[in-house]
Symmetry: C2
Subunit: 247 residues, 2 copies
DNA sequence: GGCAAAGCAAGAGCGCTGCTCTCGTTTGCG
DNA sequence: CGCAAACGAGAGCAGCGCTCTTGCTTTGCC
């Protein structure tokens, strides 16, 4: 009973905290971050709005908690997609992870907006969000690493002026990988969220219809740009018959 | 005096309307769309908040006006950048336009957020915004067209399953251009805003330092993906000596 | 076991928001 | 000239984030 001696109150605290986050997440999914109201959460939970401040010092702190959870959820989705495509070569895994991220974004548009949309005006994300944010990015770094070790990575060429920056980025993110690949991958990662953002935020309305196919195509081109290639000596099943990579 | 017989009141109306938009734009630039307050605008203009509703039925309508203006401002920036680089070949113009768009976004981050960030929850852009939104996109379509006529366009290859969609998109956007190029350009356009969005929204903090160079590199790769090539028979000055295109 | 201290829920209240309604005034067309 | 439409100002409603005060309950030390 030692831990639950503390626990009677402590447990209630984490339960209430969880309930608040749960209800907040529900409102977030339904109406978006802009309309997330502490008062509405409290109302739904049957408690006074002022009581909420015992658990979250401010609305922004509640948002921070939701952001971390969202990053984690996205990271888990990316990891799952990558693992499910573990042995079909770098291009296949890259495609799978991209589609995993896209699927998550389409399933959770408001969470996506929270992470990659307009930042809240006065709000700056605390450092606690950094590791959670990195999780999904680490998945593609992992793909790059596997490809590099297995001859599935063609070094993209780099302009001379970008080299120092690429070296610096590689030193930070993946010292064991060629700087050209790291820098190009960072760019591809950003571009991926351009594609996803346009779709989630409705910019493709009346422009792109068959979005699955369109996304596949763009992601295939990105793979080519990054330097991911089908393994010369495919150990298992080859990519499957798609011909999405150009040139 | 026929038009200004109407005009005494009508002119006052458009003047007040302009003053409201001006003040609103000032607040937008300073604090962002989320903190744009009708009451604050009215306060600054020395009028009652209720009077504002004679000119804009709701806050969202004021936002719509600002959105159209912002699209127009972005379109003008893109056109200016494209015109300034009129005779340096498709790759140079593409790069110039991309940098023009990026520069505009960095100079007007809140306007950028208004256009390409999280959409306002209940708000759906009326059709009036569509032509303004298309203006900047038309610039790159124009580059594509010029490149196509001047042998500066290498048809990117397409997966078979995307062809029908590409044909449909080309029919809508630019019937005179090869579908492969149109579809790939739409993807590149979206990816461009991934790069810009990551920079404007702070996703590159602590990751990318030399962002000018980084952006140039990514945009050069995009040009290559789209199929823009340096003209075989350069009429005027060649690109200039950069070597930004891979492979 | 008793008791101070800390944690907790609730209510009232402040200043702000978008928006509506009413009222008295001004304007300009027929 | 008359009258309808446009206009500005004020009061007010419901909602928001957040703070402060007031009581009550649990906790943990002596």
């Amino acid at each position: 009973m030692t831990s639950s001696a503390h626990g009677v109150r402590a447990r209630a605290r984490i339960e209430v905290t969880a309930a608040i986050k749960e209800e907040a997440r529900r409102q977030l999914a339904k109406e978006g971050a802009a309309k997330l109201s502490l008062r509405a959460v409290a109302r739904e939970l049957g408690m006074a709005s002022s009581a909420l401040y015992r658990y979250f010092p401010s609305r922004d702190d509640l948002l921070t908690a939701l952001i971390i959870d969202a990053y984690d959820s996205l990271g888990a989705a990316a990891e799952a997609a990558g693992d499910a495509a573990a042995d079909i070569g770098p291009v296949g895994r890259w495609t799978a992870v991209c589609e995993g991220v896209r699927g998550w974004a389409l399933r959770n548009p408001h969470e996506y907006a929270l992470l990659y949309g307009t930042p809240v005006p006065g709000y700056t994300a605390p450092d606690t969000t950094v590791p959670a944010a990195a999780r999904s990015a680490l998945v593609v770094i992992g793909i790059l690493r596997d490809a590099h070790q297995g001859l599935g990575l063609a070094k993209p060429s780099l302009s001379a002026e970008l080299r120092p920056e690429a070296v610096r980025m590689a030193a930070d993110l993946a010292p064991d990988l060629p700087p050209e690949a790291v820098a190009t991958m960072v760019a591809a990662w950003a571009q991926l969220f351009g594609l996803i953002g346009f779709e989630v935020f409705g910019q493709f309305n009346r422009v792109v219809e068959d979005r699955d196919t369109f996304f596949r195509h763009a992601v295939g081109q990105l793979a080519h740009t990054v330097g991911l290639v089908y393994p010369q000596q495919g150990p298992a099943g080859a990519p499957g018959g798609r011909a999405a990579e150009p040139s």
